[in-house]
């Protein structure tokens, strides 16, 4: 199940805006001798740099994606690859969360044990998510390449105690919401270690489920709904980023 290999990268931005983001690199690039994590990794590191240096508008996370993507093209190194991207920016002053999602990575906002906001998957067709890409010149026009503007963008208020989970499709394809919520219920306080532990246990659980051939994963369910008679998890790279909206202390 799941032909795509992938390499996920995430980032945590410091400075006054908290912005966890994930990018899921598409694996077919190995045929070109390209490390698929290079593109997604550089994309996220560039987003992080943009945020650190204040070169962004909190309410315009698509702008962060667009600028980052353009910066990749300014690199002397001939970067190749493609990646989904999901960026979440918390504006501390207005208590609003601004999101941009391109592809099938995504985010959840959990409040009082329930999902109150989530991203929509962007797929062109089955197993082909929207993706940013830089193609080699001979493959231009053949390689799927979506514009950063095609990203979905949402903005909404958040409250103290809200849990923001950003993850690559490796999580959502293997773990349904109720399981994720179960794990999140175990999160008792907002200190760094607890959050780290919870994120890790979610990722580990998803990883186990991915390799269970009999388990009816969300991915298998979706395939069945589309006429493919399959069972089991979907082996994939899994990245999970967890944050909690808490009081600001220096």
């Amino acid at each position: 199940m799941g032909r795509r290999e992938s390499k996920d990268k995430g980032f945590e931005a410091a400075a006054s805006m908290l912005g966890p983001g994930v990018a899921d690199g598409v694996g077919g690039w190995r045929d070109y001798g390209v490390d698929p994590s290079q593109f997604s990794g550089t994309l996220m590191r560039t987003c992080e740099r943009l945020v650190k240096e204040g070169r962004f508008v909190p309410s315009n996370p698509i702008g962060i994606l667009t600028t980052s993507y353009c910066e990749l093209l300014q690199n002397k190194v001939p970067l190749l690859g493609s990646s989904t991207a999901c960026i979440v920016v918390l504006d501390r002053t207005s208590h609003r969360l601004h999101t941009a999602n391109l592809g099938d990575s995504g985010f959840l906002v959990v409040r009082g044990g329930e999902v109150v906001h989530r991203s929509d998957e962007q797929q062109h067709y089955f197993n082909t998510p929207f993706q940013l890409s830089i193609a080699p010149p001979e493959a231009e026009g053949v390689v799927l390449s979506d514009s950063p503007d095609a990203a979905d963008s949402t903005s909404f208020d958040v409250q103290l105690g809200d849990i923001i989970l950003t993850a690559t499709d490796g999580l959502f394809d293997n773990m349904p919401d109720y399981m994720i919520l179960q794990e999140l219920k175990k999160l008792k306080n907002s200190n760094y270690e607890s959050i780290q532990q919870t994120a890790r246990s979610i990722a580990e659980q998803a990883h186990e489920l991915a390799y269970d051939p009999n388990y009816m994963s969300p991915f298998a369910q979706f395939a069945c709904d589309n006429g493919l008679n399959v069972r089991g998890g979907k082996p994939d790279d899994i990245t999970v980023l967890l944050s909690i909206v808490a009081e600001y202390t220096d």
Partner: protein, 591 residues
């Protein structure tokens, strides 16, 4: 917001009351050039502000500050311009960058974190003006904190450069670095600048004498530095001269011989010599001594008064260099205009790079007062408003025009191309306000038949159509910079056609064009045998075999940049170098 400085209390050199403050730069406020794109974070000067991103790693990284040129390659290509006479030998600065810091301090140290090919910084200056003060400063002074001639650093690794800086008599939060990259093997890259200083004036020991601001204008300071403009201003107006019994042997020399001797003096020395006696005064004020007037070395002191004093002698000036001068209120629009009204009519060459005092009126004055102008350099005059460029079209004798990093717009440029049919050298590098470079290229091909060199560095939307019209119209082209023009695709055959149509090419930059392939290199090998400089950085599609063909065919090739070309590894470079030892094959790296 980003914390750009932190305070450290140091017990060793300063008293507890005079804590040492250590700061990274807050902002980059001015610079003469950079490698990267405007509005980008990659290889641009703005990376010099803030904490280091790369140091102590070495390598060619995007997050550093990089100037546009290195080595002597730009002095060796067809677009190189001749040096001015009477340039003081110890003025060797080629580029500069100005940085501000949060707090004004008396500097105790300036550390520069260099991450690639270090050794370019040759001068550090400090300014008395506080750019963040709401009140305009009463007096703006620049003092040299450290200065040395260019020296070769035999490593490309990162280093923290800690030159010994002089003590300053005023607090500063505006530092200027001047660089000379001529000895470098590749682009230098700077990561950060750290300013150490004390908030209060340090107490000096008895051994060191009190350095008064006036003393810094004393003669021995000027001798070391060669920038004695202050004495120039003071002594220009002096007219009372003692008439001695004779002038020594000078009386016996023919007029022309004395003139020849005086040709070797620097400008301040020439002005000092004018004080000595009436005969030499006559010589030193002879307009024939001021045919070439290079005022760039004196940018730190040159002001309206200096221009006024020089006016009378400069009525025949043909080459005038005011690059870097006049900023922060030193030269006014009226001062410049007055000078040009008196001295402009013989002007053939005018250098105004980074002259931020310029406005539209100044350009209008130039167009009216300098009808014979053949060379105009407005490089990095990025504050010049677009309407100012409309006046350039009136200068119909223009042969060389540099508009690098200016905000010229399409209509003004088309107008210039239409009327300035004598153009031989044109630089449009990083002119971001041009909408459609194909239209520009087409116009150039149609109108500028004498064009020899063309800089289209980072001209974002030029396509094979523009290139085709350019190449078919400008058959004399010897130099073409198409670096970082991503919209050119080799599959259209544009590079192959270019090679066939421009056999005189000596310099071709196709930097970061990812589509350059073996066929293109082979076409260059077959058709452009006079090629001396080629940059094909960043393509995956060129193999060592086609490069070998190129090197065999182009006997004059001296620079070949194959950085980040994935098929050309270090071994391939070594093999090519052993067969072709005279070629400098550049292969940059990130890690």
């Amino acid at each position: 917001m980003m914390n750009s400085h932190r305070t450290i209390v140091s017990n060793s050199r300063t008293s507890p009351l005079n804590a040492e403050v250590v700061q990274y730069a807050k902002e980059v406020v001015d610079f003469s050039s950079h490698y990267g794109s405007e509005n980008s974070m990659s290889y641009t000067m703005w990376n010099l502000a803030g904490v280091p991103n790369v140091f102590p790693s070495s390598g060619d990284f995007t997050q550093t500050a990089v100037f546009r040129t290195y080595g002597t390659w730009w002095d060796q290509c067809p677009s190189a311009s001749l040096p001015f006479r009477r340039t003081p030998p110890n003025f060797q600065s080629q580029d500069y960058v100005e940085l501000t810091f949060e707090q004004q301090v008396y500097p105790t140290a300036v550390h520069i974190l260099e991450t690639y090919h270090p050794g370019a910084v040759i001068r550090i200056l400090a300014c008395s003006a506080n750019p963040y003060s709401p009140n305009p400063p009463a007096e703006v002074r620049w003092e040299i904190l450290w200065s040395e001639k260019p020296t070769k650093v035999n490593a490309s690794q990162a280093r923290q450069f800690k030159p010994c800086v002089k003590q300053l008599n005023f607090p500063t939060n505006l530092i200027r670095l001047e660089v000379n990259s001529s000895l470098l093997d590749y682009y230098t890259e700077l990561d950060a600048v750290v300013l150490h200083g004390t908030k209060d004036k340090p107490v000096l020991s008895l051994k060191t004498s009190i350095i008064d601001m006036n003393d810094l204008e004393g003669d021995d300071y000027e001798e070391k530095d060669g920038c004695g403009m202050d004495s120039l201003n003071k002594k220009f107006s002096s007219t009372a001269l003692r008439e001695g019994p004779n002038n020594g042997y000078f009386d016996r020399l023919p007029y022309e011989l004395i003139q020849l001797i005086l040709n070797h003096l620097t400008l301040p020395d020439l002005c000092r010599l004018a004080q000595t006696c009436k005969l030499l005064n006559q010589h030193c004020c002879d307009p024939l001594q001021y045919i070439h007037l290079n005022l760039q070395p004196y940018w730190a002191k040159l002001n309206d008064t200096s221009l006024e004093f020089l006016q009378a002698r400069c009525t025949l000036v043909q080459w005038l260099n005011l690059s870097w001068t006049g900023n922060r209120g030193f030269i006014s629009v009226s001062g410049f205009s007055r000078f040009l009204k008196v001295c402009g009519h013989e002007l053939v060459r005018l250098e105004l790079s980074c002259s931020h005092f310029l406005n539209e009126t100044c350009l209008e004055v130039i167009s009216e007062m300098c009808p014979n102008l053949q060379e105009l350099n407005l490089s990095s005059c990025d504050k010049l408003p677009p309407p100012a460029f409309n006046h350039i079209a009136k200068l119909c004798s223009l042969k060389r025009l540099v508009l690098y990093r200016t905000k010229i717009e399409q209509t003004a440029l088309l107008s210039i191309l239409n009327f300035c049919s004598e153009l031989q050298h044109l630089s449009l590098g990083s002119c971001v306000m041009i909408e459609d470079y194909d239209v520009i290229a087409s116009m150039i091909g149609a109108k500028c038949k004498k064009l020899q060199t063309l800089d289209l560095w980072r001209c974002k939307n030029i396509t094979e159509n523009g290139i085709a019209e350019l190449a078919s119209g400008c058959l004399l082209l010897e130099e073409l910079d198409l670096g970082w023009c991503p919209t050119l695709q080799s599959s259209t055959g544009c590079f192959a056609r270019l090679a066939r149509q421009l056999p005189n090419l000596q310099k071709l930059f196709l930097t970061a064009n990812r589509s350059v392939c073996d066929t293109d290199v082979e076409e260059l090998a077959s058709n452009c045998i006079r090629l001396q400089q080629l940059d094909i950085l960043g393509t995956r599609m060129v193999s060592p075999a086609s490069l070998r063909k190129l090197l065999e065919s182009c006997k004059d090739l001296s620079l070949l940049d194959v950085s980040f070309c994935s098929q050309i590894d270090n071994r391939a470079v070594l093999e090519l170098n052993s067969s072709f030892p005279k070629v400098f094959i550049k292969k940059s790296f990130t890690q």
